[in-house]
Structures are given as structure tokens and as C-alpha cells.
Symmetry: D2
Subunit: 250 residues, 4 copies
């Protein structure tokens, strides 16, 4: 992963849902080739990741954005246009995720259910509506413009007690399919990654319990797969790909 | 389809989403054995169906209910408890559906997207949270208590231009799975029916265009399948079943 | 389940794979309305089931048939034509199954793998090629002619150590889809039932171990579902339906 | 795609089903890093591809092999062991495919159906039984040993008239899943690629009709994806990935 020293403006890679986990790995990976724009609700979560990228010679720019709020998304993309006027966009990744709470469907509160919808479905819609026009505009990247959505095994299976997390993930997958089928013929590569299993990220240490390395997913590996997806050409690209650790039961 | 003349109180069959189409057929079918409770946003849509059932000797009771509104759902089930205190509930069917609008994902408005979520996902949650406790209480029906959700081919495939309809239908299916996996072991039979193709209902005549009878689904047939699902025993019941017309391409 | 006393010739229901388990239940269920033809490799397995049906006033006729052998299938259907010349056929059920053996893919022997293919795939082809023309000919049954295939959860998921059983079950499902898509428009109702979990049949008692009734599938329930599938009309029939016990984990 | 000049023995990449189409692209791609072993029924189909690789500085070795014949597979792997004694194997790709013939299920001949089974299912089994032990032995490759199977959209959907091609492709997918679930925990990365649409290969020109470049898949792109799959690490690898052209309807 080396950083080119070119001074000509690099295309943008806009990553939504950059926390301390997978989003940061994705941002760092795409920073090897592009100017990365980092989106998350809290700017203070973004700044250390931005610094990590710029310290290594990459370009990064942080924007606070709540993907579930139309105004916030509008403002974030307005800010991007303001800071990088007319800059091409090569990649957009939607990696935001709603609450991960297990409980009986009888105990689910409307507020938390709404929140999952707000991030995973409304957020997907709002982000895509802003990102797609940027991706459609001409890019200087050798790779087709790419829009990647992060899903989970819960995108494919509604397990008991997982309705808050799973239902909107199903919805996100549906949206990703609709977007792919509409915009593939216009040259946008749309992907949906099914992350099957726990990510080995700092905040999950407790949740992971006694799992071995081989039972958890390395976010750097996922980021590498996102990069490989982006590198596919328009005469042979993938919509859906699963990613799991070798020790995962499936 | 004959109506028993028993005077002992019949268990309830609560049907949400009773309009002029499939919901009415379902209500009539279950009225052959149960006291049917009809839910829809507008009481005036329910009353002719209620009358059709009572004219043939069945029992029906209409309650206005917007399934996407917590207060409305709460009030509707409060009304049911008030009118039929302690009455067992044998069947609950969620047949409500959100807007069926085709448009580019770029043109989807948050309001219409929210509406699809409100009916198909939040409505599913709110209705199920009220219906499940009734279904868990002892019933005098010989069949396991049954909770049926109406899905569509859009529950399985996100087509281009269908995001408003499809994304929440995916979410509904996920919820139905989560509910099934949680409540099957407690004796509730949960079903998700994938209606694959256009229903031959009055309001769809124009939409159906020149389709022949054999290319459209007869709602009476679907209602019969819902009844057959209800009749399955707990040692061999179905979660998911597709239904289509013989002339459907799939 | 009562047996009509009509003396006019009843249409045939041809059931392949009638052993002591599910096939027998299916045969008995369809014997309530039709003259059942029982097929299995060994005539001595069929005769007690035939007797059970005729003792209760039904019509049954046994034919030895190895569904994996073209000549044997040809001879069996020749025999049927000879005994019931010109008789309409209302239902054909393919319930035969190959070896159920668990082992590492490294230890699978070609002979046992061939055997699974022979029954589940070649058998499906050979049986369908003979049954479909009979189903296409006019029937006196009020229900559309129906061709039902028995699948398993292994039809949808290739588990570790299950290749001998699972791979041909996937193949069977594919064939069932191809047949449905070709012959639905010609009026044949084609179904694929996914039996998800262990059947409570005599020979499986040991295999089932300490499972409770609620964790095993009652073959009588499955037979009832097959009957319900047969009763669906051509403006709303099902291709695929899963069947499981209330206590099944899925 | 550059060829390393290292003189130390490169690990093997064994590719079965190398004709003039996708297999040749895959072989060329893996020849950039490994000594490729090319398998196909006819040696004369392999030699030009072998020459193309060696002319560019790569290592290639051709072995005639009918994957549907146990003796032939045994002999081919015996030959490999003889020529490359103790050589590590980094990759095995099963790209062989059975007959692609469209016809009514009523007209399918047992011989052609057997042939599809022989290649796609028995061939998969026989090839895997020989390749897996090689993959399990220590390798000098930095990437986990990888076993890739080529599937098609017919692996997921049994279309009308496609039973000869589709049924065994379903079976192959099942086998791939069983192998993945058994050997993932032992460190083998198993993949199933769903090639969705026509490949732009010489022999398909007529079949492709008036399709544009953007409606056909470039086999070089697929080969690149196979390489990317191979490069995934064991803490984040993929089992299934679809590949299609931007203009494909799906």
C-alpha cells in the first residue's frame, strides 16, 4: 500500500460510516490511490483516522454527517463540493450501520427500530442519491466508478432476537440490488458485501469473548476485498461477495 | 366454504390490510370458521366487506387502524379486547402494503420511502407485538395459532425502479423470519407468502393491461392457501410458500 | 380422510419411493380420492402398504421399479398403462431418495456418489419423462394435474460431510424448477417440498436419538400438505414450500 | 501481469477445463506467479495455451485428463507428482463444464444427462479428492491454498429447457459448499464463482449474436477476479462471488 506523490488532483473516495472499525480500514486502503472523504456522525471519531492517513502521505478530509438526516447529508455533500469543486469521484462506500441490539421482537421499541431504518435504509437512499451523480460524472480513475455497501449475514437471514439489526439490513440489500440494476448499464459498479461473522475491531473485544484470530474477520482483509472489487472492469464485475474468517461456522 | 352455526364464541381471525383486494378474500375465507376482525385505515373500505360476511352468516367486525401508527394499533387492539373480552385468537394476517410506485432511486422522496417503511416494517412490528400475545393465549381452534405475512416477488428481488416497494418488503420478510424463529418453539405458526405476480383485483384492472386470467392471480386462491397453511399441524408446518398463476414467467 | 364409493374409474396418483416412511403416508393420503400406484424397488415393501389402503376401501396397485434404471421405469409405466388403459393421471409424486451417508468428501466413493445421482437426478428425469405425458392428458379430477418432488434442507445447503446426499438433492431441485417453468404454462402444477428436519418414521428411531415429538416431522402432516398443494388452482399455485416441526432450529 | 525470474521452484496452479475460453485466461493469469498445470480432455487443445505461457516466460505443463473418469484423473495427478515430485500446490481451479444443450425435459437423453453429471459433479468430486491433499500440504505461496469452482447463473436458477446444463451445475455448487465447510477450518480457501452471462470467447461468437462488448463477459476480467480471490487472507475470504458484464440483465 504505497501513496503516490502525484500532485495532480486525485479522484475522491467518499466513505460513510468511518468509526474505529471497518470504515477506518477501508478509508486507509482507498487513501493509497484517492483523496478520501471520511463521513461519520462525530467529527472527533474521524480526526484520528484522518491524521493517520495524512501522516502516511495520503489525503483525507473529514465531514460530520448523520446519514439518516436529509439535511445533514445534503450539507455534507455541499461541503465536499465546496472543498473539492468539480473533483471526480471514483468510489463511494456506505459502511454506516444501525444499532446492534438483541432482543425479543415483543420488546423492540419503535425508536430503536426507526433508528435501524434511518441508518441502513434511509441513510443508504440519501447517501446514494448524492453519490451516484458524482460517480456518473467523468473520472480520471482507470477503474469504473464504484458504489459499495456493507452488509452482514443478517442481510440474508432473520435470526431470532435480531430484528432491529436484520430487518433494515435486508432492506439495504434490496436497495443495493435496485441501484445496481438501474445504474450498472450506466457504468456504475455497485457491490454488496456480506460480512459473515464478527470483525476483530477494538470495540468488539468484549463481544468477541474467547474467539481466536481465525474465528474473527480482520478489517484490513475486508478493505483489501473492497479495493479488489473496485479494480474489476465493466466486462466482469461482481455485485455480491461474502467475506468470512476461516474458522467461521456457516 | 360453509358457515358453522355454533353459538359458542368462535376464536378471532384478525386481518390487517383489508381493502378491495386480497385482504377481503382472506377475511371471507377465515370467516367460514372464525369471527373476523377487519383492519384498514378507512372504515368505509371495511364496511362493505363486513356486510358481505355477515350477509352470508359469518361474523365480522371492522376497526379503523393505521398500522404504521403506534397509537392507532394500540387503540385498535384495545377495541378488540373491549368488544371480545378474553376471546381466543386463532389467526392474525398482516396483509397491509405500502405504496407501489416505480421510479428511479434518484427520484425517490424521503416521504414515500418512509411510508413504505411505516407500513411494511413498522406496521409489521406493531401489529405483531399486539397479535402475538393473543395468539399465545389458549385457543379453542384445533389448529395451531397462525401469523401470516403477505410478501411479494419484490421481497426476494430488488428490481430497478422498485426500491420504494421492494426495500421494505425485504425488511418485512426478515422480520417474519425473526418472529418465526423466536415463536415457533412457543407454538405459533408463522408464515410468509410470496405473491409472485399481479393479483386480479378491481383496482388493478388498468395496471394489468391485456393480461389473461391465466396470467393473473385469483385472490380467492391465495386465501385458500392461507387457510391451508393455517390447517397445518405443529409437526409439519411451512414458513414460506410462493404463489403464482400458471402463466407467470419466473 | 374418507374413501368415496364411486364405481367410475378414479384417476391415478402415482407415487415413486414408497417405503415405510413418508411415501406410505403420501400414498394413503392420495388414496382417499384416487387409485394409487405405488412404486419402489422392492415389491415386498409395497404390499403391506397396498393392503393397508385396500383394507380401508381404497384402490392401490404396486409395481416394482428402480427409478434409476431406464428400462425399469419404462416397464413400470408400461405396466400401469396395461392395467389401467387410458386412465387419467391426476398426481405424480417423486419421493425416492438416494443414500443418506455422512462422510468426508475425501472418502466418498464414486459408486455411492453415482447412486445418489441415479436416484435423485436420473430418477427424477426418467420418472418425469413418463409422468408428464400422463399428466398432460385430460383428467377427471377437479384439481390441476400435479407433479410433486420431495426435497430436503440439503437441497438448499451443502453442509460439511453431506455431499453424497446434498449434491443430487440440489440437482433434483434444479430439475424441478426447469420442469415447472416448462410445464406450468401447459397446465401442470409442479411443486418442490423442502422437508427441513428429521421425519418421525420407524427406520429413523435410532437416528433420531432423544428427539421429542415436537422436534420431528410427522409424515402424515407432510402428506396433508402435499394434498393441499394438489388442491391449489391454476390461478394461484405454489412451487416451493418448506415443512418443519415447531421445535426445529433453522 | 509480469513473470518473476526466480529459479526456485514455483508452487503449482492446477487448472482443469482449459479450452480456448475462460480456462486459458485463468491459466495465463496464474502463470504470472505459479507453474501452471493445464488439464483438458484433448492434449492438442492445451499445447497452444502452454506455448503461449512459456513464450512469455511462464511455466506450463499440459496433461490430458477426462475429469469424469476416475482412472484418467488418477493418472493425471500421478503424472503431476511424477513431473513435479513434492512440489507444493497453491491453487486448483475446476473450470470443466458439461454439455450446454437446450431442450425440453421430455427430449433429454440419459446419455447427455449422464455426461453433465459426469463432468460437473463426478468430475468435481474426483478432481477435488486429488487436489485437496496437495493443497493441504505446505506451500511456499504467501496466499492460502485456494480451490476455485466455476459456476454459472444456471447454478442458481433452473430455467425451462436448461436441465442438462443446470441440474449438474446446482450439484457442483452443493459440492463446493460441502468442501468449503469441511476444509475452510483446515486452511483451504474454497470459492464458487457464478458467471452470470455469456463469455466473449472465440467459440461463442455465433451464439452471442449481436451482443455488444458491454453485454458479454471478458474472460480476462474473470481470471483477474480468480486471482484476487486467491490473494484473500484467511481472516477474510469469500466463498461465492458473481461476475457479470455491465450490460447484463439480471
Amino acid at each position: 500500500m504505497n501513496f503516490p506523490s502525484s500532485t495532480s488532483p486525485k479522484p475522491l473516495a467518499i466513505i460513510a460510516g468511518v468509526g474505529t472499525g471497518l470504515g477506518a480500514s477501508i478509508a486507509r486502503r482507498f487513501a493509497a490511490a484517492y483523496t478520501t472523504v471520511l463521513l461519520a456522525r462525530k467529527l472527533e471519531h474521524l480526526l484520528p483516522i484522518e491524521k493517520g492517513i495524512t501522516d502516511r502521505g495520503g489525503d483525507a478530509f473529514s465531514v460530520a454527517c448523520d446519514v439518516s438526516q436529509p439535511e445533514s447529508v445534503k450539507n455534507a455533500f455541499g461541503k465536499i463540493e465546496e472543498v473539492f469543486p468539480g473533483r471526480a469521484c471514483a468510489v463511494a462506500v456506505f459502511n454506516a450501520t444501525g444499532p446492534f441490539v438483541m432482543k425479543s421482537v415483543l420488546d423492540v421499541e419503535v425508536e430503536e427500530f426507526d433508528k435501524g431504518y434511518g441508518v441502513s435504509m434511509k441513510g443508504t437512499l440519501l447517501f446514494s442519491q448524492r453519490a451516484i451523480p458524482l460517480l456518473l460524472s467523468s473520472s480520471t480513475s482507470p477503474h469504473p466508478p464504484t458504489l459499495i455497501f456493507t452488509g452482514a449475514s443478517a442481510s440474508l437471514k432473520g435470526s431470532a432476537l435480531f430484528s432491529i439489526f436484520s430487518a433494515p439490513k435486508f432492506g439495504l440489500r434490496s436497495l443495493a440490488q435496485s441501484i445496481a440494476r438501474e445504474f450498472n448499464p450506466k457504468g456504475i459498479h455497485v457491490c454488496h458485501a456480506v460480512i459473515d461473522g464478527p470483525l476483530d475491531v477494538p470495540w468488539a473485544k468484549e463481544y468477541l469473548g474467547g474467539k481466536t484470530d481465525e474465528e474473527t474477520i480482520d478489517p484490513e482483509e475486508v478493505a483489501e476485498t473492497y479495493w479488489a472489487l473496485h479494480c474489476q472492469g465493466r466486462r466482469g464485475w461482481s455485485f455480491e461477495v461474502d467475506v468470512r474468517a476461516m474458522g467461521e461456522k456457516w
